[in-house]
């Protein structure tokens, strides 16, 4: 794939984007803490969306490149079956309910 690199120096990227990404990370931490402080916490911990978030957080540190692509695939429906109709299906929620633990 042809491509060009970001024209900024790495330290300039950090200067430019550190604070906003620090804030996003703290928001995620607060979100997870909020779940832990909630009623029926076990239901939250077993929710497929929660599991998908946890897996994505691991991927952030485990992968060395193309993290965005990998995390988007982590949230994706990997099934091959096609429903006849969409009439009874829920709207997209951002994670795939059919994912198994080993997918994460």
């Amino acid at each position: 794939m042809s491509g060009q690199n970001c024209p900024m120096k790495a330290t300039d990227v950090i200067d430019c984007y550190f604070l906003e990404n620090r804030a996003k990370l703290i928001d995620i931490a607060a979100f997870l803490d909020r779940i832990d402080r909630s009623i029926e916490v076990n239901d939250g911990h077993s929710d497929f969306r929660y599991q998908a978030i946890l897996k994505a957080l691991h991927m952030l540190t485990e992968l060395n490149d193309r993290r965005t692509e990998a995390i988007l695939k982590n949230f994706s429906d990997l099934s091959v079956e096609l429903p006849e109709s969409a009439a009874e299906l829920k709207s997209a929620c951002g994670a795939w309910e059919g994912a198994r633990n080993e997918d994460y």
Binding site: M1, S2, G3, Q4, N5, C6, P7, M8, C16, Y17, R66, T68, E69, L72, K73, F75, S76, D77, L78, S79, L82, P83, E84, S85, A86, A87, L89, S91, A92, C93, G94, A95, W96
Partner: protein, 268 residues
């Protein structure tokens, strides 16, 4: 700075938005048919919408010095009533003949159902018969990867379709490379809460190159921003990209793709 906004739903926007687009220097826009937030109940409902797109909206845009083109098609959100969909497809060719309609769109998939695929195949067949440009909507969130691949399979199965005359929109990091590698054009959509942020869109351009790609706001009745393209322009400037590359993404690329339809007049 020359900008074409290639995907925006102005029927859902205010005149203030037209004014803002004009002040920002965006004087050429294209508006695909889409789902209004509720299911239309008759073919006449669609006919009225297509009239609005091709007659009323261009007049509204012209008051602000904006040239308005449209795309006609049946959105996958309304593909589940197959009988109504078949009826709607019979009126689409009349609108495709209009002087300001650039092709079929936005068509595609939403929940990747067999009904949606069936209607998509029918619309691709119409496009192939008429040699129309195609603007493709890809599904949201977890359905995007599977849906994008299904759409590309359907397009590849229609031998009369030239991928260079198809733009697959709402792409993200996990779909851009596959779309471009199969020879299609690729669209990035800037939304505050889903799809791409301006920073991510620019990341994709840096990673995947500036060919075969456009960036749009797809502003509609939901949380969206009709001036989002300007924010991506500023993001590119902030990072030190040249004005030539910026103009390529926001003007030359959409102009190149859209100019494949003889009805599109190159602006400026």
């Amino acid at each position: 700075m020359k900008i074409i906004e290639p995907h925006i739903h102005m029927v859902s926007r205010t005149t203030d938005d037209y004014q803002a687009l004009s002040w920002a220097g965006i004087h050429t826009i294209t508006e695909p048919s889409f789902w209004p937030g509720f299911d239309r109940r008759s073919v006449e409902g669609f006919r009225d919408y297509f009239e609005q797109l091709t007659q009323a909206e261009p007049l509204r845009a012209a008051q602000f010095g904006i040239t308005h083109y449209s795309w006609i098609g049946l959105n996958p959100k309304e593909a589940e009533d197959i009988n109504l969909a078949r009826e709607v497809l019979t009126v689409i060719p009349d609108f495709l003949d209009r002087h300001n309609v650039l092709g079929i769109g936005e068509i595609g998939l939403n929940k990747n159902s067999k009904n949606e695929l069936n209607v998509l195949e029918m619309q691709i067949s119409i496009a192939a018969e008429r040699n129309e440009l195609i603007l493709v909507h890809t599904p949201h969130l977890e359905d995007k990867l599977k849906g994008t691949r299904l759409i590309m399979d359907v397009l590849a199965n229609e031998s009369r379709i030239n991928p260079w005359r198809v733009l697959i929109d709402h792409a993200e990091e996990h779909t851009v490379a596959e779309i471009k590698n199969q020879g299609f054009w690729c669209g990035l959509t800037l939304y505050p809460q889903s799809k791409c942020t301006p920073a991510r869109a620019v990341d994709i351009v840096e990673s995947c190159g500036s060919d075969q790609i456009w960036i749009n706001s797809s502003a509609d009745w939901g949380i969206s921003d009709p001036l989002a393209t300007l924010k991506a322009v500023e993001e590119m400037r902030k990072r030190g990209h040249t004005e030539q590359v910026i103009e390529k993404i926001f003007y030359k690329n959409p102009n190149t793709f859209l100019s494949q339809c003889a009805k599109f007049a190159t602006p400026f």
